[in-house]
Symmetry: C2
Subunit: 185 residues, 2 copies
Protein backbone atom coordinates (compact mmCIF):
# COMPACT_ATOMS: atom_id res chain seq x y z
CA UNK A 1 0.00 0.00 0.00
CA UNK A 2 1.36 3.34 -0.98
CA UNK A 3 1.10 6.31 1.30
CA UNK A 4 -0.03 9.50 -0.36
CA UNK A 5 0.57 12.66 1.59
CA UNK A 6 -1.49 15.62 0.53
CA UNK A 7 0.43 18.04 2.75
CA UNK A 8 4.01 18.61 3.71
CA UNK A 9 4.51 17.02 7.12
CA UNK A 10 7.45 16.29 9.36
CA UNK A 11 10.00 13.94 7.82
CA UNK A 12 9.83 11.59 10.82
CA UNK A 13 6.06 11.27 10.50
CA UNK A 14 6.26 10.73 6.75
CA UNK A 15 8.91 8.05 6.98
CA UNK A 16 7.88 6.19 10.14
CA UNK A 17 6.09 2.88 9.90
CA UNK A 18 6.03 -0.31 11.95
CA UNK A 19 8.46 -2.86 10.49
CA UNK A 20 9.04 -6.36 11.78
CA UNK A 21 12.50 -7.06 10.29
CA UNK A 22 14.61 -6.12 13.30
CA UNK A 23 18.37 -6.39 13.38
CA UNK A 24 19.67 -8.08 16.52
CA UNK A 25 22.45 -5.52 17.10
CA UNK A 26 22.04 -3.74 20.45
CA UNK A 27 20.86 -0.15 20.79
CA UNK A 28 23.34 2.09 22.59
CA UNK A 29 22.25 3.06 26.11
CA UNK A 30 22.30 6.77 25.23
CA UNK A 31 20.03 6.26 22.25
CA UNK A 32 17.59 4.31 24.39
CA UNK A 33 17.62 6.93 27.14
CA UNK A 34 17.16 9.76 24.64
CA UNK A 35 14.12 8.03 23.23
CA UNK A 36 12.66 7.67 26.72
CA UNK A 37 13.48 11.28 27.54
CA UNK A 38 11.67 12.36 24.39
CA UNK A 39 8.62 10.39 25.55
CA UNK A 40 8.78 12.05 28.96
CA UNK A 41 8.18 15.47 27.41
CA UNK A 42 4.74 14.58 26.12
CA UNK A 43 1.93 16.74 27.52
CA UNK A 44 -0.49 15.14 29.97
CA UNK A 45 -3.55 16.02 32.01
CA UNK A 46 -2.38 18.03 35.07
CA UNK A 47 1.16 17.18 33.92
CA UNK A 48 0.58 13.84 35.63
CA UNK A 49 2.99 11.97 33.32
CA UNK A 50 1.20 8.65 33.92
CA UNK A 51 3.53 6.70 31.58
CA UNK A 52 5.94 4.14 33.01
CA UNK A 53 8.38 1.89 31.22
CA UNK A 54 9.62 -1.63 31.83
CA UNK A 55 12.75 -1.70 29.75
CA UNK A 56 14.51 -4.85 28.58
CA UNK A 57 17.83 -4.45 26.82
CA UNK A 58 19.83 -7.29 28.33
CA UNK A 59 19.37 -10.95 27.60
CA UNK A 60 17.86 -11.77 30.99
CA UNK A 61 15.14 -9.12 30.86
CA UNK A 62 14.57 -9.62 27.15
CA UNK A 63 13.87 -13.28 27.79
CA UNK A 64 11.31 -12.37 30.44
CA UNK A 65 9.60 -9.80 28.24
CA UNK A 66 9.59 -12.06 25.19
CA UNK A 67 7.86 -14.60 27.39
CA UNK A 68 4.75 -12.46 27.72
CA UNK A 69 4.38 -11.77 23.98
CA UNK A 70 1.80 -13.51 21.83
CA UNK A 71 3.49 -16.29 19.78
CA UNK A 72 2.67 -14.44 16.56
CA UNK A 73 4.67 -11.48 17.86
CA UNK A 74 7.49 -13.58 19.32
CA UNK A 75 8.08 -14.88 15.82
CA UNK A 76 9.64 -11.55 14.78
CA UNK A 77 9.95 -9.45 17.97
CA UNK A 78 12.33 -11.95 19.57
CA UNK A 79 15.03 -10.45 17.37
CA UNK A 80 14.50 -6.89 18.64
CA UNK A 81 17.39 -5.77 20.89
CA UNK A 82 15.09 -3.67 23.09
CA UNK A 83 11.57 -4.34 24.31
CA UNK A 84 9.69 -1.74 26.32
CA UNK A 85 6.47 -2.53 28.13
CA UNK A 86 4.46 0.69 28.44
CA UNK A 87 2.45 0.90 31.64
CA UNK A 88 0.29 3.74 32.82
CA UNK A 89 -0.71 4.90 36.29
CA UNK A 90 -4.48 4.74 36.62
CA UNK A 91 -4.97 7.31 39.38
CA UNK A 92 -3.78 10.88 39.76
CA UNK A 93 -0.97 11.43 42.22
CA UNK A 94 -2.46 14.63 43.66
CA UNK A 95 -5.80 13.16 44.74
CA UNK A 96 -5.64 9.43 44.01
CA UNK A 97 -8.76 9.72 41.87
CA UNK A 98 -9.13 7.88 38.56
CA UNK A 99 -7.27 9.63 35.75
CA UNK A 100 -9.57 9.26 32.76
CA UNK A 101 -6.77 10.38 30.44
CA UNK A 102 -4.01 8.01 31.54
CA UNK A 103 -4.18 5.80 28.47
CA UNK A 104 -4.55 8.74 26.11
CA UNK A 105 -1.58 10.50 27.68
CA UNK A 106 0.53 7.33 27.61
CA UNK A 107 -0.28 7.14 23.91
CA UNK A 108 1.05 10.65 23.41
CA UNK A 109 4.30 9.67 25.12
CA UNK A 110 4.53 6.65 22.82
CA UNK A 111 4.05 8.96 19.83
CA UNK A 112 6.93 11.17 20.97
CA UNK A 113 9.06 8.08 21.56
CA UNK A 114 8.34 6.67 18.10
CA UNK A 115 9.23 9.92 16.35
CA UNK A 116 12.42 10.49 18.31
CA UNK A 117 13.44 6.91 17.51
CA UNK A 118 12.72 7.55 13.84
CA UNK A 119 14.84 10.70 13.91
CA UNK A 120 17.72 8.58 15.20
CA UNK A 121 17.37 5.94 12.50
CA UNK A 122 15.75 3.49 14.90
CA UNK A 123 12.61 1.55 14.18
CA UNK A 124 9.71 0.83 16.54
CA UNK A 125 6.74 -1.48 16.49
CA UNK A 126 4.09 -1.50 19.23
CA UNK A 127 2.30 -4.74 20.02
CA UNK A 128 -1.06 -5.11 21.70
CA UNK A 129 -0.71 -8.88 21.58
CA UNK A 130 0.78 -9.89 24.92
CA UNK A 131 -0.38 -11.72 28.02
CA UNK A 132 -1.32 -8.98 30.46
CA UNK A 133 -1.96 -11.23 33.45
CA UNK A 134 1.33 -13.02 32.90
CA UNK A 135 3.09 -9.65 32.69
CA UNK A 136 1.64 -8.50 36.04
CA UNK A 137 2.88 -11.72 37.62
CA UNK A 138 6.25 -11.97 35.88
CA UNK A 139 7.28 -8.42 36.78
CA UNK A 140 5.30 -8.21 40.01
CA UNK A 141 3.57 -5.02 38.86
CA UNK A 142 1.03 -3.37 41.14
CA UNK A 143 -2.52 -3.04 39.82
CA UNK A 144 -2.24 0.73 40.22
CA UNK A 145 -0.75 0.46 36.72
CA UNK A 146 -2.44 -0.54 33.51
CA UNK A 147 -0.30 -2.46 31.02
CA UNK A 148 -0.88 -1.21 27.51
CA UNK A 149 1.61 -2.28 24.89
CA UNK A 150 5.05 -3.74 24.31
CA UNK A 151 7.24 -1.71 21.98
CA UNK A 152 10.06 -3.31 20.01
CA UNK A 153 12.94 -0.90 19.39
CA UNK A 154 16.02 -1.42 17.26
CA UNK A 155 17.38 -1.01 13.76
CA UNK A 156 16.16 -2.30 10.46
CA UNK A 157 17.58 -5.71 9.63
CA UNK A 158 17.25 -8.46 7.08
CA UNK A 159 13.74 -8.90 5.75
CA UNK A 160 14.54 -12.45 4.65
CA UNK A 161 14.57 -13.49 8.30
CA UNK A 162 10.80 -13.08 8.30
CA UNK A 163 8.34 -15.76 7.25
CA UNK A 164 7.00 -15.43 3.73
CA UNK A 165 3.68 -14.19 5.07
CA UNK A 166 5.33 -11.49 7.17
CA UNK A 167 7.61 -10.50 4.29
CA UNK A 168 4.53 -9.71 2.26
CA UNK A 169 3.16 -7.51 5.03
CA UNK A 170 6.52 -5.74 5.51
CA UNK A 171 5.51 -2.34 4.16
CA UNK A 172 3.95 0.90 5.39
CA UNK A 173 0.18 0.68 5.89
CA UNK A 174 -2.14 3.15 4.18
CA UNK A 175 -4.36 5.56 6.07
CA UNK A 176 -7.91 6.86 5.89
CA UNK A 177 -8.33 10.21 4.17
CA UNK A 178 -8.68 13.23 6.41
CA UNK A 179 -12.35 13.63 5.36
CA UNK A 180 -13.11 10.27 6.92
CA UNK A 181 -11.62 11.47 10.20
CA UNK A 182 -13.51 14.74 10.52
CA UNK A 183 -16.95 14.23 12.04
CA UNK A 184 -19.41 16.53 10.37
CA UNK A 185 -21.53 18.02 13.08
CA UNK B 1 10.28 25.73 35.99
CA UNK B 2 13.24 25.10 33.78
CA UNK B 3 13.43 22.08 31.58
CA UNK B 4 16.73 20.25 31.63
CA UNK B 5 17.32 17.84 28.82
CA UNK B 6 19.98 15.25 29.43
CA UNK B 7 19.93 14.02 25.83
CA UNK B 8 19.69 15.56 22.42
CA UNK B 9 16.09 15.19 21.31
CA UNK B 10 14.00 16.45 18.41
CA UNK B 11 13.72 20.24 18.31
CA UNK B 12 9.93 20.09 18.21
CA UNK B 13 9.84 17.98 21.37
CA UNK B 14 12.33 20.22 23.13
CA UNK B 15 10.49 23.41 22.31
CA UNK B 16 6.86 22.32 22.58
CA UNK B 17 4.86 23.24 25.63
CA UNK B 18 1.20 24.10 26.29
CA UNK B 19 0.73 27.88 26.31
CA UNK B 20 -2.52 29.71 26.97
CA UNK B 21 -1.73 33.08 25.34
CA UNK B 22 -3.34 32.46 21.96
CA UNK B 23 -3.44 35.01 19.20
CA UNK B 24 -6.89 35.36 17.63
CA UNK B 25 -5.56 35.38 14.05
CA UNK B 26 -6.95 32.47 12.04
CA UNK B 27 -4.93 29.42 11.06
CA UNK B 28 -4.75 28.83 7.30
CA UNK B 29 -6.82 25.87 6.11
CA UNK B 30 -3.75 24.13 4.68
CA UNK B 31 -1.89 24.39 7.98
CA UNK B 32 -4.85 22.93 9.82
CA UNK B 33 -5.25 20.09 7.33
CA UNK B 34 -1.52 19.31 7.41
CA UNK B 35 -1.66 19.03 11.18
CA UNK B 36 -4.61 16.62 10.92
CA UNK B 37 -2.85 14.64 8.19
CA UNK B 38 0.19 14.33 10.46
CA UNK B 39 -2.09 12.96 13.19
CA UNK B 40 -3.58 10.46 10.78
CA UNK B 41 -0.20 8.79 10.28
CA UNK B 42 0.10 7.69 13.90
CA UNK B 43 0.34 3.92 14.36
CA UNK B 44 -2.63 2.12 15.90
CA UNK B 45 -3.72 -1.35 16.88
CA UNK B 46 -4.70 -3.25 13.68
CA UNK B 47 -4.25 0.10 11.91
CA UNK B 48 -7.76 0.87 13.19
CA UNK B 49 -7.12 4.65 13.29
CA UNK B 50 -9.79 5.16 15.97
CA UNK B 51 -9.21 8.93 16.16
CA UNK B 52 -11.89 11.33 14.93
CA UNK B 53 -11.91 15.12 14.94
CA UNK B 54 -14.61 17.69 15.42
CA UNK B 55 -12.99 20.77 13.99
CA UNK B 56 -14.09 24.33 14.68
CA UNK B 57 -12.40 27.09 12.74
CA UNK B 58 -15.33 29.35 11.91
CA UNK B 59 -17.19 31.55 14.33
CA UNK B 60 -20.32 29.44 14.38
CA UNK B 61 -18.59 26.19 15.23
CA UNK B 62 -16.11 27.86 17.54
CA UNK B 63 -19.01 29.27 19.55
CA UNK B 64 -20.50 25.80 19.89
CA UNK B 65 -17.22 24.21 20.92
CA UNK B 66 -16.38 27.00 23.36
CA UNK B 67 -19.75 26.34 24.92
CA UNK B 68 -18.70 22.88 26.10
CA UNK B 69 -15.43 24.03 27.70
CA UNK B 70 -15.02 24.41 31.45
CA UNK B 71 -15.23 28.12 32.38
CA UNK B 72 -11.60 28.04 33.55
CA UNK B 73 -10.60 26.98 30.04
CA UNK B 74 -12.97 29.35 28.27
CA UNK B 75 -11.15 32.17 29.98
CA UNK B 76 -8.15 31.72 27.67
CA UNK B 77 -9.18 29.16 25.03
CA UNK B 78 -11.95 31.41 23.70
CA UNK B 79 -9.23 33.34 21.90
CA UNK B 80 -7.89 30.28 20.05
CA UNK B 81 -8.77 30.43 16.32
CA UNK B 82 -9.15 26.64 16.10
CA UNK B 83 -10.62 24.15 18.54
CA UNK B 84 -10.51 20.44 17.85
CA UNK B 85 -12.50 17.94 19.87
CA UNK B 86 -10.71 14.60 19.73
CA UNK B 87 -13.07 11.63 19.74
CA UNK B 88 -12.19 7.99 19.49
CA UNK B 89 -14.09 5.00 18.17
CA UNK B 90 -14.58 2.48 20.97
CA UNK B 91 -15.01 -0.68 18.88
CA UNK B 92 -12.94 -2.19 16.10
CA UNK B 93 -14.36 -1.87 12.62
CA UNK B 94 -13.41 -5.41 11.58
CA UNK B 95 -15.30 -7.23 14.35
CA UNK B 96 -17.18 -4.57 16.33
CA UNK B 97 -15.46 -5.75 19.51
CA UNK B 98 -14.16 -3.32 22.12
CA UNK B 99 -10.83 -1.80 21.12
CA UNK B 100 -8.87 -1.64 24.37
CA UNK B 101 -6.29 0.61 22.72
CA UNK B 102 -8.58 3.28 21.27
CA UNK B 103 -7.69 5.94 23.83
CA UNK B 104 -3.99 5.09 23.74
CA UNK B 105 -3.95 5.25 19.95
CA UNK B 106 -5.88 8.53 19.90
CA UNK B 107 -3.23 9.87 22.25
CA UNK B 108 -0.53 8.90 19.77
CA UNK B 109 -2.35 10.79 17.02
CA UNK B 110 -2.57 13.81 19.30
CA UNK B 111 1.19 13.57 19.88
CA UNK B 112 1.86 13.58 16.13
CA UNK B 113 -0.54 16.52 15.74
CA UNK B 114 1.14 18.53 18.48
CA UNK B 115 4.62 18.03 17.03
CA UNK B 116 3.61 18.83 13.46
CA UNK B 117 1.92 22.00 14.75
CA UNK B 118 5.09 22.90 16.62
CA UNK B 119 7.16 22.39 13.47
CA UNK B 120 4.88 24.89 11.73
CA UNK B 121 5.20 27.51 14.43
CA UNK B 122 1.74 26.77 15.77
CA UNK B 123 0.93 26.20 19.42
CA UNK B 124 -1.41 23.62 20.92
CA UNK B 125 -2.98 23.08 24.31
CA UNK B 126 -5.15 20.06 25.12
CA UNK B 127 -7.93 20.43 27.68
CA UNK B 128 -9.54 17.65 29.66
CA UNK B 129 -11.90 20.18 31.24
CA UNK B 130 -15.04 20.12 29.12
CA UNK B 131 -18.63 18.97 29.52
CA UNK B 132 -18.71 15.57 27.84
CA UNK B 133 -22.46 15.07 28.09
CA UNK B 134 -23.11 18.51 26.68
CA UNK B 135 -20.70 17.77 23.83
CA UNK B 136 -22.55 14.55 22.90
CA UNK B 137 -25.81 16.50 22.80
CA UNK B 138 -24.54 19.66 21.12
CA UNK B 139 -22.88 17.81 18.26
CA UNK B 140 -25.25 14.85 18.23
CA UNK B 141 -22.36 12.41 18.52
CA UNK B 142 -23.09 8.69 18.66
CA UNK B 143 -22.00 6.82 21.77
CA UNK B 144 -19.84 4.59 19.59
CA UNK B 145 -17.31 7.38 20.13
CA UNK B 146 -15.59 8.41 23.31
CA UNK B 147 -14.87 12.12 23.70
CA UNK B 148 -11.42 12.68 25.09
CA UNK B 149 -10.04 16.18 24.87
CA UNK B 150 -10.44 19.57 23.22
CA UNK B 151 -7.29 20.92 21.62
CA UNK B 152 -6.74 24.64 21.11
CA UNK B 153 -4.61 25.38 18.04
CA UNK B 154 -3.23 28.71 16.89
CA UNK B 155 -0.26 31.03 17.20
CA UNK B 156 1.35 32.57 20.21
CA UNK B 157 -0.19 35.90 21.13
CA UNK B 158 -0.05 38.53 23.81
CA UNK B 159 0.56 37.15 27.28
CA UNK B 160 -0.88 40.29 28.86
CA UNK B 161 -4.35 39.17 27.72
CA UNK B 162 -4.19 36.48 30.39
CA UNK B 163 -5.21 36.97 34.00
CA UNK B 164 -2.37 37.60 36.42
CA UNK B 165 -2.67 34.06 37.75
CA UNK B 166 -2.46 32.52 34.28
CA UNK B 167 0.42 34.78 33.33
CA UNK B 168 2.39 33.31 36.20
CA UNK B 169 1.67 29.79 34.96
CA UNK B 170 2.57 30.70 31.36
CA UNK B 171 5.76 28.66 31.09
CA UNK B 172 6.89 25.15 30.18
CA UNK B 173 6.25 22.62 32.94
CA UNK B 174 9.08 20.45 34.27
CA UNK B 175 9.14 16.68 33.97
CA UNK B 176 10.01 13.69 36.12
CA UNK B 177 13.49 12.27 35.60
CA UNK B 178 13.75 9.17 33.43
CA UNK B 179 14.69 7.06 36.48
CA UNK B 180 11.29 7.80 37.98
CA UNK B 181 9.63 6.49 34.83
CA UNK B 182 11.44 3.19 34.57
CA UNK B 183 9.85 0.53 36.74
CA UNK B 184 12.52 -1.65 38.25
CA UNK B 185 11.37 -5.20 37.93
Amino acid sequence: MERKFKYEVMKEIKERWSPRAFDEAPVEKDELMAVLEAASYAPSCFNEQPWRFIVADDENKLKRLRGILAPSNQEWANRAPVLILIASKKNFEHNNKNNKWHEFDAGTAWGFMALEAQRRGLITHAMGGFDKEKAYREFNISDEYDLITVVALGRYGDKSNLSKELQEREQPAARKGIDELILNV
